[in-house]
Amino acid sequence: MFEGKLPRPDSAALRRALAPGDAPAACGRPEAAGDAGERPRLRELHRREREIAARYYAIGQTVRWRYVAATLACFSLWLALFPLAILGLVPLWLACGVSYLIATGGFITAHEAMHSTIGRKGSKGWFWNELTGQLSMIPLMFPFAIVRIIHLQHHRFPNDPVRDPDYPDGAPNLRAALWKAWLNRQPGKTAQAHHIKRVLLEEIGTPEAKAALKQTALAQLAGTLFFIGMALAGYALEVAMVWWLPRWLALIHTHVFFGWETHHPQTGTGRYDNTRIFKSSVGSVLSMWLEYHLVHHLYPNIPIHLTKPAYFEMKPLLQARGVDCSAH
């Protein structure tokens, strides 16, 4: 399925993988920020940072099949929950809990695919990358195409009120973030969809972005018609507990603990302050290791589960730059 070889340090894929985030000129090369006397020291810190990142990127390439395997297993289980719940073989509360975890975890596997860490375009792994992304997003009822475009735009302009599609996740505290996550998913004027639509059409404006928007409308329509069809067929309770409610919970979870908490308080737009190292309100496992989000924004192609060990190796370098590493 995969090549299994570690990428050569001089390969184009590795160079691209270790580019400074997916950041625009505003974030720029990290050493450019310092004054002339500081630049050599910052350049050296950056070089050492990249060495660590290269190592973890290479490790990630040897274990990327795990994301594919997890996706195939979880998606199969998620599908099986429908007949199992309908036949009464699984209690509805259990089906709801399992589906919620699959939908939430699905964002993480899809997230790997968004950054093409499972396989780059043109490589043998590309098919599996796209399959992982598509299947992972079905429980959340979003096409992979739009989520990828939105997420890469977020990486380019984190915390930018106009250009960051995730900006409306912002809130002063956890309680407000939970409320906002619900409010942002409402059908009217408060919907985050309006902000995302504007970003897609006006800020990105590519044919892919427009096509992704149409796909999203059709996917949401198809999903809603599926709910209604199942309900009219007498399975309202089952579809509510296997898909509708877990999807809602997972959307709130991902927006609060993956979107809001990682970038709170949304003040920085620079390479080292647009996100942070923090202790999640739901712990490491339920936050899916996003507590080391700074490492992810610095080197998006290190798989999420490796950002923790990568962070601990990078920690002295980050501290030397003045990054707040007190949480871990």
Binding site: P187, G188, L232, A236, L237
Partner: protein, 64 residues
């Protein structure tokens, strides 16, 4: 096509209230063996809640 979809999405909360919430209420009542008040059927009771709730969501732009 786009205009039709736009209108459909505008009234979607009402359709969702009638098509999903109403049967969901009726089937939940049946699951817990709860009878509808005033001699109504469970589905009629579900519709009595789901339809106005969906209409409220169309009008206010939010479900609560």
């Amino acid at each position: 096509m786009q205009a039709v979809l736009k209108k459909l999405f505008y009234v979607m909360p009402l359709l969702f209230g009638i098509g999903f919430i109403a049967p969901l209420i009726a089937q939940t009542m049946a699951y817990w063996d709860i009878a509808a008040p005033y001699g109504m059927s469970r589905l009629a009771f579900g519709l009595a809640i789901g339809a106005p709730w969906g209409l409220y969501a169309v009008w206010r732009g939010r479900w609560l």
